[in-house]
């Protein structure tokens, strides 16, 4: 993985500290061309990996990438699935079973629901695989070396002790897409522990890691201890605490931590992209 990854929150009005900012972003990125221009700004600043949710609008970005193979020759996408709000809204409206019937393709479900037969473990793994395929459709022909599970799903399964489904995801994306699995989580220490117990020793894990301890479950100290000894390949996200931390101090903190392979951030303006990239390079060179 590259040292710096570009995120997509700004494109979809996700802002962790201000609804006003998120509305401004929503206005700014109304047109797909604005998204593509910002991705170009990121590429010009040397960032060639775009880590993004499987939002409908990303399929338009993929169309442009496929249509311009030379321009995007080195460009990689790390898809993060699912786009949780799509499913969350569906579950609110249709319930869990109704949502699965709506989104799991084919007649897999029709046959399962007949006759009240018991569901087997392999059925749930098959459902997961079918959902992964649905989400991956838009990336056909695009380079996706790492495929992520969003934190709401990773952490839900972690809490439900269904780590075998995470393991199933890990093997499936390798088998079907030749990709590595990644896990976004808000519970890094617990997740790497559980994955290790299940035989995944060096997973790719993306978690909130920032100077103020925001969204670092169990506390900053526990994370720092985990990072000292972990074999996981860690991506730090929310390093700027949504903008609440002084950018230089924020980057200085993360760059000094051990075992952080990559830093993920998103920004709307060229100046902010270049500023953050320059800060990362500056502190990385100091820590060499």
């Amino acid at each position: 993985m590259e040292r710096i990854l570009f995120g997509d929150n700004q494109f979809f009005a996700v802002n962790h500290i201000s609804d006003e900012k998120s509305r401004a972003q929503s206005i700014k990125f109304r047109e797909d061309s604005a998204i593509l221009k910002t991705l170009d700004d990121a590429r010009n600043a040397g960032i060639n990996t775009f880590m993004c949710t499987t939002h409908d609008r990303i399929s338009n970005v993929c169309d442009v990438i496929r249509a311009n193979p030379e321009k995007y020759a080195d460009f990689k996408i790390f898809p993060c699935m699912p786009y949780a709000h799509k499913y969350a809204n569906a579950v609110t409206e249709l319930g869990i079973v109704g949502t699965l019937k709506e989104y799991v393709p084919g007649n897999f479900f029709g046959s399962l629901f007949k006759g009240g037969v018991a569901f087997l473990s392999k059925d749930f793994i098959s459902i997961m695989e079918l959902l992964v395929d649905t989400e991956m459709k838009m990336f056909k022909g695009v380079n996706t070396p790492v495929i992520f599970l969003q934190n709401v799903i990773t952490d839900l399964l972690l809490g439900l002790r269904a780590v075998d489904v995470l393991v199933g995801f890990h093997s499936y994306v390798q088998k079907k897409y030749g990709a590595e699995a990644g896990f976004i989580t808000m519970n890094l220490p617990k997740l790497v522990d559980e994955l290790a117990k299940a035989g995944i020793e060096n997973p790719i894990v993306c978690a909130s890691i920032n100077k103020v301890g925001f969204r670092m479950s169990g506390g900053k100290k526990v994370y720092e201890e985990t990072l000292k000894t972990t074999k996981a390949r860690v991506i730090a996200m929310q390093v700027l605490g949504g903008g609440a931390i002084n950018p230089k101090e924020a980057i200085e903190y993360v760059c000094a931590l051990p075992h952080i392979e990559s830093i993920l951030f998103g920004a709307s303006s060229r100046a902010n992209i270049e500023g953050t990239v320059a800060n990362i390079h500056e502190f990385d060179s100091k820590n060499k």
């Binding site: 500290i17 609804d19 709000h85 699965l100 569901f119 269904a162 949504g242």
Partner: protein
Amino acid sequence: MLKIALIGAGKMGISHLSILGGYANTEIVGVCDTSKLVTDFLTKHGKFNCFSDYKKMIDEVNPDAVVVAVPTKYHYEIIKYLLNKGIHVFAEKPFCLNYQQSIELVELAEQKKVVTQVGYHNKFIGTFREVKRIAASGVLGDIYHFIGESYGPVVVKKKADTWRSDPSEGGGCLLDYASHVIDLINDILSPIESVKGTLLKSIYSGQVEDAVYSLVELKSGQSGLLSVNWSDETHRKMSTTVTLVGTKGKLISDANELKLFLKDSSSLNGYDKGWNVKYITDLQEGVDFYLRGEEYSSQLYYFTQAVLGLQPNTINTFASAANTDKAIYLIKQSGK
């Protein structure tokens, strides 16, 4: 070790189950749901002890506390059953469909001396807790007006009916969305006691309202406006804002950002004359396990601590949720 069970493993129930799974001094002894898909998953992957009949589950696993996350119309019957057995109850919101039933359950819970809580999670969000602290401090002077708002994209086109579109099952924007705002205002200022006028608007739904606009008066004499619309797709998810207007200042806060304007320099630590801005990153306490938002973990942790006797049971009690049910009733009457 606290023995806890879950009745209703839908969207909220599953989320509660996942959060509770990580608590050190809590053991999940049973899960009850009518969906075989859900219980088969929980049995096979999570090794949970699952049931389809809640009474059978209670008899077999004998829990100290139960989380009830079934549709609201089943709350009264199930909660009454649990209270009669002396079981501590955490129920999803809203509490009951009929506030006479809410009052009956409040009285029963008091008799049985059990811990009660309802899932109005906004009260565990750092920004809204700070709003309450600021309002109580007096720095705003006389708070003569408030606005409680909530907007989100739940029903954004005409669709097939579900329980959410059936008023007799607890559907509608008033019970689902507006209840959160009502509960916050009740808590931050004082309970809603009378309603001056209400517009309940159906935008896409056939049988229920999609928006609630209401002028209300509180027990304290303060008055203000509720404006709630779940058919507003300019918001990615539910967004709740509280505005307090006082003679000495004004406060506007959503879950992420709190803005306080003060006319004069203040004695309240961390705030001064003019605009003050604080973010959730400054105000939210961390949790040991995070899923969907700190507040969901915090409220359950609070409940388990109260059941274990390690914390008083004062936030989101059945009594406060009954006040919210009463306000819902008053607003509905006024909107007829």
